[in-house]
Each structure stands twice: as C-alpha cells, then as structure tokens.
Symmetry: C3
Subunit: 206 residues, 3 copies
C-alpha cells in the first residue's frame, strides 16, 4: 500500500467517526449513521478525484473503504454515549481527519504531476469538503467557516508547507510535514485560540 493510499484509509476512518458523531446529534438510526459517515468520509476525496478526472474514483477502486466507514459508524452508534462531550470529541477528531486528508489530497495531485497551485487547492479541497458536506446535509453551522478559528487556514498552511518542502525533500517527508503543520495550526487554534484577524465592518464615518 502506498503512502497516499494509507492516508486515504486513515482519512476515511477518522472522517467517518466525525460523520457518525454528527448523526448522533441528529438522533438518526444506524443506517443514517452509515450514510452520513460515508458521505463525510469520501466526500472530499471524491471531489478531488472528479476534478482531476481520476477513473475510477478512489473508493470505487477500493470498495473496502466503504466498509471502513460503515464500521466506524457502527462503532460510534454503540459507544457515543460513553463520551461526556460528543461535541468536543467531534471537534478534535475532525482536526485529526483534516490533518490526514490534506496530505492525501496533496499526494494524489503530486503523483499526477499537477501545477503547484492545483496541488495546493486539492489539499485544501480534500481536507475541507467532506466536513462541509456533512454539515450542510445535517443542517449544522459548517465547522469549516466558523468565525475566528483556523480551519481553511490550517489546511492552506499545511498544503503550502508540502509544496515548499518538496524543493528540499522527497514526497514522503513532505506529506508528513504537511500533516504536522495542519494539525499544529488547527490544534493551536482550538487550544490557545490562535486566529487571524477577521473582517469587521467599521462604523460609518461621520
């Protein structure tokens, strides 16, 4: 199994956990858990593959990935009540999934020899769109656009770090750097409140 494939598996599993946690907040049944978990798990990577015209899409080539997502959904269905704060677990699992999905997107674009800007965007899209679809479908405020948190920024910084690191090192280490930078920024934002200045409408000048 190649590193990008391994990243796809890891990203599917962790994103599926987050999807199932959102399903638990919506009080769905177990098939509903599997549906939202699968959508979240493969959403970002599917967008990447459709945009890059990869045939077949990654989970059609390896249907076992859907089994991974369903297993994650089942696990959450029977254990989610053990957690004191499902929202907190969800947020941190989502941070982990983001940190795995961004290098998964970058890795695939790299392997296909795309322009660095396209590589950057595939990292961001693969990282952000699974969670975005999850939140839009389940009527939650998208985590990806929550004001005053680093999310797209963490994905952007991780993907940019990978693109830069490739001038100095091999793809493998570059993808690890990508994951580390993404997670560090997202975790720092959750723990220490790191943020960029947000847009504020100034009061009209008198």
């Amino acid at each position: 199994m190649t590193l990008p494939e391994l990243l796809d598996y890891a990203s599917v599993f962790v994103f599926a956990l987050t999807g199932a946690l959102v399903a638990s907040r919506a009080q769905l049944d177990i098939i509903g858990f599997a549906f939202v978990a699968s959508l979240t798990a493969v959403g970002g990577g599917t967008l990447r593959d459709v945009l890059l015209n990869r045939d077949p899409v990654f989970w059609i080539a390896q249907p076992a990935l859907i089994g991974v997502a369903v297993a994650a959904a089942t696990l959450v269905f029977f254990t989610a009540h053990l957690f004191e704060s499902r929202l907190k677990v969800l947020t941190w699992l989502d941070a982990l999934a983001l940190s795995v999905a961004v290098p998964a997107g970058v890795g695939v674009a790299l392997a296909a020899g795309h322009h660095w800007a396209v590589t950057l965007i595939m990292g961001i899209a693969t990282g952000c769109f699974g969670g975005l679809m999850r939140d839009v479908v389940c009527n939650e405020v998208p985590l990806v656009l929550k004001q005053g948190e680093l999310y797209v920024t963490a994905a952007f910084a991780g993907a940019a770090a990978a693109v830069l690191a490739l001038h100095l090192t091999a793809p493998g280490p570059a993808l690890l750097i990508c994951a580390a930078v993404t997670f560090a920024l997202r975790a720092g934002s959750l723990t220490f409140g790191w943020r960029l200045p947000v847009y504020k409408a100034r009061p009209p000048r008198v």
Copy 2:
C-alpha cells in the same frame, strides 16, 4: 428502450413532480418550478454518472428528459392548488420516485460490471441525492434524514435485495424486486410507522 432507460424516464418524471411541489411551498414562479424540478429529477442520476465516469451523462445523451422534467413542473404549477395536502402528496410521490430511482442506479452499475458494494452504493446514491439536493437548495429539512423514518434504509434494503436476487434471477426481475422492496419499506414507514431504533444519548451516569 432498455429497462434502465425506462427507469430513468420514470424517475425523472416523478422526482420532478416532487421538486415542483417543494417549489410551490417556496412560492416560486414557473421558471423556478422548472429549475427545482430539473435539479431534483436529474440530481441523483447525474451524481451516479459522474462517479462512474459515464460519458455523456444520461440527460445529456437524451435531452428529452429535461423536457419531461419541465412538463412535470408546468403540470404542478397549474394544478397543485387542487390538492388538499401538498405535503402528503409530496411525501408519497417522493416514496414512488425513490422506488424507481434506486433500481435505476443499480441497473446502470450492474450493466457496467461494477463490484456489488459499488452497485449497492449507486442504488442508494441515485435514490437519495436528488431529493437531498432539492431540500438543501430550498432550505427544507432533508426528507432523507428525517428522524425515525425509513428512507436511506428503504433504499439500502432495495439495493441489497437486488444484489442478492441477481444470484437467483436475471437483471430484469432483480430490478423489479428492488423497486418493490424499496417501496414496501418506505410505504410501511409512512403508513404504519415502521422504524429502526434511533440513537439516544443516555443521561450521564452518576
């Protein structure tokens, strides 16, 4: 006309009716009716075709399908006020559309020789995503995720029945079994309240 093509036509017509009914709840004009009806009618099948990299997408190969959707929208625009409960008509038409769209998805995946798990997913996706897009775009609570009703479950059971029936029979009867199982479960859920147990957060242990 092959059976999958016939299913595509039927599914387009009935889903278009549901899209137009949602448009009537949003009080759109006739072009808005046609827009939402078309989106609902071809949404699921388009996702299926893009995922399976079919070229061209089914309604680009047969633009008359869009004419069918527009005709359905026009019909609803001028007659919807005749129904006492548009919501009830909408729910039942949606059940019918689901029961036609799931075998339409299964049939296309079968004909392309895909893995049974991919076939299963194409059935579910083709059945569920048209209505999902309709509800997300029109800001309705997605019918597909309504708590305590069989919806994705009906699609899943119908698609699974088709996959199993194929070991015993030809594709044609298998698709009919698929439609019957899907409709039976969805209708049973609407009429008798059939449901799976939903996730409930237990109160914290003291």
Copy 3:
C-alpha cells in the same frame, strides 16, 4: 485568448467579489474570504466542465484563475467597509457576474457541439450554481431562488436568446446578446420590480 476564455476570467473575477462580500457578512478572516470567493468564482464553471466531461477543468488548465479569485477576495477584505450598503453592492455585482457566466457556459457548450437544450442548460447552470453554492455554504437564503425576482429566468432568457441568435449570426455576437438579455432582465427586476407571477396556494373551496 478566445472569447469564452475571456468570459471565464471576467466571470471568475466578479463572482469572486460577490463571494468575498458574503464572507464579509459572515465576518471571516482573509483565508476564509479567499475560500468562499474561489468556491463562488469557479463553482458554476466547474459543474459545467464536470458535466461535459471536459478534461482538464478550466481552472486546472489555467491556475492563474485562482489567483484572480484570491486577488478579488483580498481587494474586498480591505475595502468592503468603504461601501454604505454591502448588500446592495453584492446584489448588483452578482447580476453582473450572472450576465458574464451565462454566455461563458453557452460558449463552451457551443464549442463542443452540444444539442441546443444542453447548451441552454449549461448557460443556466454556469450562471446560477456558483452563487447557489456560495449561499448554501454560507447559510444565506439563496439569491437564485428569492421569491418574486427574475434570476433563473434572466439566465434562461439570455441562454435562449443566444441559442436563437445563432441561427442569424456568429457565436461572438450571439454571446454578447446573451449577456445583454440576461443583464437587462436581472437589472429590470432589481430596479423596476419586473417579475413573473408566483405560485400561490388558493384558499380551499368551500
């Protein structure tokens, strides 16, 4: 640069401005501005290219387009507070973007030799889906479905005008006519309240 390419550039720039204005209403940071602006800017054209199975998608062929969207986002981030009514600016820029994106969609479908109905739909889809994605992701009421305004209708009329004009003239002038008709109807709706009759449920007959 061909006329359709030029329309793609213009449409990306103006749609990116509208995306950034919506981001300003959600008080995002600058990376959030760039994310929403890029999504809005390339959303409709990406859908068109995926549906028509164009490989590569237009902005993957010309990554500079993403640079244009990011520049537009940056511009808005630092200047949006200068406008008295950001909503009004947003609405009019969106009208302009629509009038550029519809001919961009029509032009690409024409060049690929598609059926007139497919050409019509590509014009509407390219024009409407960027803004639709923007509004769905940012939790705004979709401008495209706002009751009692010509929006999809303007796109439809513009695309239909282009399809008809092609019987009399070359593609270049037909695309200009398309832009003019789209803008005239949308602007007329915003300025003079032009509208089509909307669906109204009649009171039940006694």
